[in-house]
C-alpha cells in the first residue's frame, strides 16, 4: 500500500470518527421546543412547561419567554407526559414521544377558560405522531364528560346503597319478629301472654317501619333515561309485587290478631292468615335479597 492510499484511509477513518462522535453527541439527549399561544394565537409568556417520562419518571421543566417560546433539552428517549400551566388558563396535558437525539417541535395552544374543544375531556393530546381520540370516530358526546349525568348516577347509587343497608336491617327485624311469634300465639291453642304479644307486635311494627323506609329509597332513586332493565334485578323488582302487598296484609292481619288476643279471644276470621301472610312476605323478601346477591 502506497503512502497516498494510507493517507486516504487515515482521512476516511478520521472523518468517520468525527461523524460517529457527532451522531453520539446528538443521541445523548432529545430536545422538545415550541411556542405557547392562547386561542387567538397570541404568545403566552411565563407559562410553566413540565415534562415527565412515563416510565423512567425523569422530569424537567422550563418557562416560556416573552414570545411564548420554550425549549427543554437533554431529555432521554421515550414517552413523555407534558403539563402546561399558565396564569388565567386551565392546565393542559399533552403527550410526546421522543426518539434518542431527536428535536421535536410541539406548539401549544391553550384553551380559554370558557372555551371548549373536542379533545378537552382527554387527559392527553397527541403530539402529532400519535393517533388522537378525535380521530377514532366517537361522537363528541362520548368523548366529553357529562357532569349532570354523573351527578344523577351518584344520587341514584347513594339512595340505592341506603336501600340496600336498610333492607338488610329490615330482614333482621323480620327474622326477630318471626322468632318471637310463638310467644304471641301461645301453645296448645291457648293464647300467649301479654308480654309475648307486645314483643312480637313491637318487632312487627319496627319491621313495617323499616320496610317503608327501605321501599322509599328504592322508589325515590332517580331513573336513568333510556335504560332497559335486564338481568336478575328484574326478579328483585318483581318480588316487590309480592312482599309489598304482603307486608301491608301482614301488618293489618297482625293488628286484628293482636286485638282479638288482647280481648281474650282466640284468633279467628281472616286474622288467622297473619302467619301465612308473614311467611309469604318473608320468603319474597328473602328471594329479592338473594336475587341481587348471587349470580345465577
Amino acid at each position: 500500500m502506497d503512502s497516498r492510499a494510507l493517507k486516504l484511509a487515515a482521512q476516511i477513518l478520521l472523518f468517520s470518527q468525527i461523524v460517529c462522535t457527532t451522531v453520539r453527541a446528538q443521541n445523548s439527549g432529545a430536545t422538545l421546543s415550541g411556542t405557547v399561544t392562547d386561542a387567538s394565537g397570541s404568545p403566552v409568556s411565563n407559562a410553566k412547561i413540565i415534562v415527565s417520562n412515563v416510565f423512567s419518571g425523569q422530569t424537567a421543566d422550563t418557562r416560556s419567554d416573552a414570545s411564548g417560546h420554550y425549549t427543554i433539552s437533554k431529555l432521554g428517549s421515550g414517552s413523555y407526559e407534558m403539563t402546561v400551566v399558565a396564569e388565567g388558563f386551565p392546565s393542559a396535558a399533552y403527550r410526546a414521544v421522543l426518539a434518542s437525539g431527536s428535536a421535536k417541535t410541539l406548539n401549544i395552544q391553550l384553551v380559554n377558560p370558557a372555551g371548549d374543544s373536542a379533545d378537552s375531556a382527554s387527559p392527553a393530546q397527541s403530539s402529532g405522531q400519535e393517533p388522537s381520540l378525535s380521530g377514532l370516530g366517537f361522537p363528541s358526546s362520548m368523548i366529553k364528560g357529562n357532569p349532570k349525568e354523573q351527578a344523577l348516577l351518584n344520587k341514584r347509587s347513594h339512595m340505592l346503597q341506603i336501600h340496600q343497608k336498610l333492607g338488610m336491617i329490615t330482614v333482621g327485624a323480620m327474622v326477630a319478629a318471626l322468632i318471637a311469634s310463638p310467644g304471641a300465639k301461645g301453645h296448645h291453642g291457648e293464647p300467649g301472654g301479654a308480654t309475648g304479644r307486645n314483643v312480637h307486635m313491637a318487632l312487627g311494627a319496627t319491621t313495617a317501619g323499616l320496610y317503608a323506609a327501605t321501599a322509599y329509597f328504592a322508589l325515590a332513586a332517580p331513573r336513568v333515561p333510556g335504560v332497559k332493565v335486564r338481568g336478575p334485578i328484574r326478579l328483585h323488582k318483581a318480588m316487590a309485587w309480592i312482599h309489598g302487598p304482603g307486608m301491608i296484609m301482614t301488618a293489618v292481619l297482625g293488628a286484628m290478631a293482636y286485638s282479638q288476643l288482647s280481648n281474650g279471644e282466640r284468633v279467628h276470621g281472616i286474622a288467622k292468615y297473619h302467619s301465612t301472610a308473614a311467611i309469604v312476605t318473608a320468603a319474597a323478601l328473602g328471594t329479592a335479597v338473594f336475587s341481587v346477591s348471587y349470580k345465577f
Partner: protein
C-alpha cells in the same frame, strides 16, 4: 477524490439509519372483545364490550397505538350492576377507557411480546410495564390477546360493596383485539 469519500459516507449513513427508508403504515381496530373481571366473596362478575375503537400509526419503525372503549358499553348482564359500575368508575364524567402503547414495528410480525401500556380510566392514568401479549398474524390482520392487570386502586376507585363486603382490588381486563393494516 473527496466526491468519492462523500459518496461512501452517504452510503454509510443510509445503512446506519435504515428506518428512514421504511414506509409508514396505519392500523385500524376491527370489532374486538374486552372483558373485565370483578371478584366478590359471593360471586364473580364479567363485563364484556365489543365497542372498542383504535388506531395505530407507524413511523420510522416505531408504532403508536391508541384504543378506546366507552365505559357504558360494558355489559355484565344486569342493568342495575352496570349502572352502579358506571357510577363507581365515574363513567359519565370520564366516558372512555383509553389505552396507549408504543411498539417497534418489528414486533408486529407476531409472537409473544411484552408491551408498556398507559391506561387512562376514571380520570386517572396508570402505567403497566411489560404486559405479556400474544400477537397472531391472521392474513393482513393482527390478533392481539392478553390481560391487563388493572386494579381499582390504580384509578383511585373506591371498591364497591355488596352486603357490606367489598370487591377484590384486582379487576383484570382480557383483551382480544384484531387490528387491520391499511
Amino acid at each position: 477524490m473527496m466526491k468519492k469519500v462523500g459518496d461512501v459516507i452517504l452510503c454509510l449513513l443510509a445503512l446506519a439509519v435504515p428506518s428512514l427508508a421504511r414506509a409508514d403504515s396505519v392500523w385500524v381496530l376491527k370489532p374486538s372483545t374486552l372483558t373485565y373481571h370483578v371478584s366478590h366473596p359471593l360471586h364473580h362478575v364479567e363485563g364484556v364490550s365489543h365497542a372498542a375503537r383504535g388506531k395505530g400509526e407507524c413511523h420510522a419503525g416505531i408504532c403508536n397505538f391508541l384504543a378506546a372503549v366507552p365505559v357504558k358499553s360494558f355489559d355484565s348482564g344486569d342493568t342495575n350492576r352496570d349502572l352502579h359500575m358506571l357510577q363507581v368508575v365515574r363513567g359519565a364524567q370520564f366516558p372512555l377507557v383509553v389505552v396507549r402503547t408504543q411498539l417497534p414495528e418489528s414486533d408486529l410480525k407476531g409472537g409473544s411480546i411484552e408491551a408498556d401500556l398507559t391506561v387512562t380510566f376514571a380520570g386517572e392514568t396508570a402505567h403497566y410495564q411489560r404486559v405479556p401479549l400474544k400477537l397472531v398474524p391472521e392474513g393482513k390482520d393482527l390478533r392481539v390477546v392478553g390481560t391487563i392487570p388493572t386494579t381499582v386502586s390504580d384509578f383511585k376507585i373506591k371498591p364497591p360493596e355488596l352486603l357490606a363486603m367489598p370487591i377484590s382490588n384486582n379487576i383484570p381486563v382480557d383483551v382480544d383485539m384484531t387490528w387491520e393494516e391499511r
